[in-house]
Amino acid sequence: MAISGLFEISRRSLSTYQKALEVTSNNIANANNPYFSRQRVVLGALPPDSRVGISVGLGVKIEDIQRVRDQINDAQTIKYNQAFSSADKQSQILSHIESLFSEPTELGLSGLINDFFNAWEELAVNPASTPLRTNVIQSAEQMSSKIKTLYEGLDLVRNDQKLDAQSMVDDINSYLEEIQELNKQIYDANIKGNGGFDLLDKRNEALQNLSKLVNVNVSYDDKNMASVSVGGVFAVDRMYATKFQSSVENGKLTILSEDGNAKVKVNGGELFAITNSYNKLIPDYLSKLDLVSQQIFDNVNSIHSTGYSNTNPQATGINFFSNYSNGVLEINSEILNDPNRIAVSSDGTSGNGDLALRLAELKSTKMLNGLTISENYSDFVSSVANEKVMNDQKASANELVLQQLEQQQSEYSGVSIDEEMMDIIKFQRSYDASAKLISIADDLLQTLLNMV
């Protein structure tokens, strides 16, 4: 090898370590980027010059720059994202529903139903008393108002889910577009021989975010192109991206492809919590509230209508509640206008409060499912509470797994400043040494020139 060969080796070495320092700098710069995967420079020796007898290497080169990423961890994160987001979102919705009950306080329906029946008990003490009759009406109004508020609240939460679903489907469409675009860019980068590592990280971020919204299935082809299906319906690859829409069909919230031909089977992600609340949970709660209210309506009226009012002339056959429909328990307007229309006398005498006592006894009468009205209501509240507790627990369990997965990924793919600083020192020293080598080669050449 001629002396000039030394210059060549040093030049390659300088450029190699400069590149290595660039990669390390990029790692350090992204140390706190959660979706960044650290990159590793793989150095290799240049093969020796075979034309000479004694084989001497020609210096250093960058064999490869690798992206350090645990793909299995990514797949698991996608899976647990769906489970966690679904349970967490369901818990949030239930928390909203739960707050509508105002339980266990005196403002809850349980206390107001009890107050309503207690008011009849008090009326039995002096059935002709107008203040006690007014007290019955007021307690009925409070109970009726709470039922209405609760019903409207549940209905509002249900309608909110419809709006949430629409905005969530917009987000899904936007992520799908982004994934298609990134697929294209990654493909181009591959052709150019550029790893497109940052693009891969960005696509991974989009996939992770998508999996929080809906259940997805992700597969990769030999060119590392991601193909995604949403709820069993093809969603995106490099060439195509499907758009989705939400719509209400027969009272059920459904997610369809934009052309309406494919129906998404939603069973994970926040969208599942939303559709489950809209299609199943809230209608179930509304029917339970209807059941309690209808029991009050039917049983109070069946007793009250047999009694005699405290009016002159007396009247009988009066219903206490005039109607119950969609959470509105209407008190008979005649009674609202004249408390003496309350009919608690079984024999027509003004002091007879037999029916007030019978009405009060409804409080402890076993009715549907062998439960009292209050017990049926309490059962209803417990079912909401239990559903929330179950989802909280499910969310916590999945969150723990996700935290561990994130921890593992950050241990594997994350940037260690210490490690990078060591690399910087290492590469810097190598760079310094290569520069020094040029100086030595220069000295050697100078020595030779001086001999001439």
């Binding site: 706190n32 266990p104 349980s110 206390g111 009890n114 005498t349 002091g351 239990n386 921890q407 400043i417």
Partner: protein, 415 residues
């Protein structure tokens, strides 16, 4: 294990988050002083809290009901004490007027009887909080008053037999009145079984003696004729000492086939059958509520609270005294009988009062116990919560300190 900046941060964040959650949990418990602020804090606990809170409310209403019932029964007792005092004076007068020396003063005794009638009538029409004490459940008018000719006292209210009940526990509705008819009316209560297997047309008979206001005796005859399964015709007649029927009547009665209890009289809920013959100063009631229908018949028995009504008997005594005639033994027996009947009713009212007071005490105990259970279920053990909060705050501070010491460090700091 490879340690990176981010894995360190994550680990710190997760653990600090957990500690902060605990701090928040204890802070909420301390500020609300309640372990259960929403149903999902404890689904079973909140159901229990709802039930116990309702129980506390119900106990408070029962207690309030008793507070309202006690003065009413107390006032009833006081009215009956006034009546008893008047009757005591009359009994004393009846003893004194047996002295032949008093024959000239019978008009003064008549005035005493008149004053007693007025006092009795006033007490019988006593009211409390708009409710006539002896008016049953009809509070629309005074229960007793003179007829249009001022010759007899009659029942003015539509019905004085109504029972006034209040609810004093989940299962007990307590009667808190002495009905006007049970104190003042002459009621003949019939007891016994009618044979449910007897043939249609079979008859069961019975009779008893009643008195008019003048003390004259009459025979009250009954018979029950079976007309169909569970149905009977109830016939009655009142016959004077000369075997002349002064009144009679008939009612259709039915028994409940399941329980054998009387279910209707003339198609309506059972009530007293009234027999009033003003010309004979006869006013009495028949009570069939204890009659039953069973597989075999028993003898019919009769229970009379009094043989004639007190007001008209006293009016008759007053008129006789004004005419110089002393009350006969039957009339005095009616007054004596009313006196003992009054004492019985005072005792009954006293026992109602006692029961209300005892129930009040029981309710107070139940209230304390229920509140205690509610407190155990709901209230926070403040000392324990404060200690736990303090402990978690120390953990959090320690965590902050360590993270501030370690997290920023890297090789960079030493180069």
């Amino acid at each position: 294990m490879r340690v990176t900046q981010r894995s360190l941060q994550l680990s710190y964040l997760i653990n600090m988050q957990k500690t902060q959650e605990k701090v928040g949990f204890y802070q909420k418990q301390i500020t609300t002083q309640s372990k259960i602020n929403k149903p999902s804090d404890s689904p079973i606990g909140s159901a229990r809290v709802m039930r116990l809170s309702n129980q506390v409310e119900s106990l408070s209403v029962y207690s309030k009901n008793i507070d309202s019932g006690l003065p009413l029964i107390g006032r009833t007792i006081s009215a009956m004490e006034t009546m008893q005092s008047e009757i005591e004076k009359l009994r004393s007068d009846f003893t004194l007027m047996n002295n032949p020396l008093e024959n000239e003063n019978l008009d003064i005794y008549a005035q005493n009887v008149d004053r007693a009638i007025a006092a009795l009538l006033d007490s019988a029409n006593s009211e409390f909080d708009g409710q006539y004490l002896f008016g049953g459940t009809d509070f629309s008018q005074k229960p007793f008053g003179y007829n249009s000719t001022n010759t007899a006292v009659e029942v003015k209210a539509s019905d004085i037999s109504g029972i006034h009940k209040i609810k004093i526990s989940d299962t007990i509705s307590q009667k808190i009145n002495i009905q006007g008819n049970e104190l003042f009316s002459a009621i003949t209560q019939q007891n016994g079984n009618l044979d449910s297997g007897s043939a249609v047309g079979s008859v069961q008979l019975g009779s008893t003696t009643v008195l008019d206001a003048d003390g004259n005796e009459y025979t009250l005859n009954f018979n029950y004729t079976k007309t169909a399964a569970n149905d009977y015709t109830f016939d009655y007649s009142v016959v004077d000492s000369s075997s002349v029927t002064i009144t009679n009547g008939s009612n259709q009665i039915s028994f409940d086939p399941a329980t054998g209890k009387l279910s209707t009289i003339d198609g309506a809920n059972p009530s007293l059958i009234g027999i009033t013959v003003p010309a004979n100063k006869l006013d009495l009631r028949i009570d069939l509520s204890n009659m039953t229908e069973a597989a075999s018949a028993t003898n019919l028995t009769y229970l009379q609270n009094q043989k004639a009504d007190i007001f008209n008997t006293l009016i008759s005594i007053k008129e006789q005294l004004n005419n110089g005639i002393k009350p006969n033994s039957n009339q005095i027996a009616v007054v004596e009988n009313f006196h003992s009947h009054l004492l019985n009713k005072m005792s009954e009212a006293g026992s109602i009062q006692n029961r209300l007071e005892n129930t009040q005490l029981m309710l107070q105990n139940s209230d304390i116990q229920t509140r205690e259970l509610l407190s155990k279920e709901k209230d926070v053990d403040m000392a324990a919560a404060l200690v736990s909060l303090q402990n978690e705050q120390y953990n959090l501070e320690l965590s902050y300190k360590i993270s501030s010491m370690i997290l920023p460090k890297s090789l960079l700091d030493y180069l």
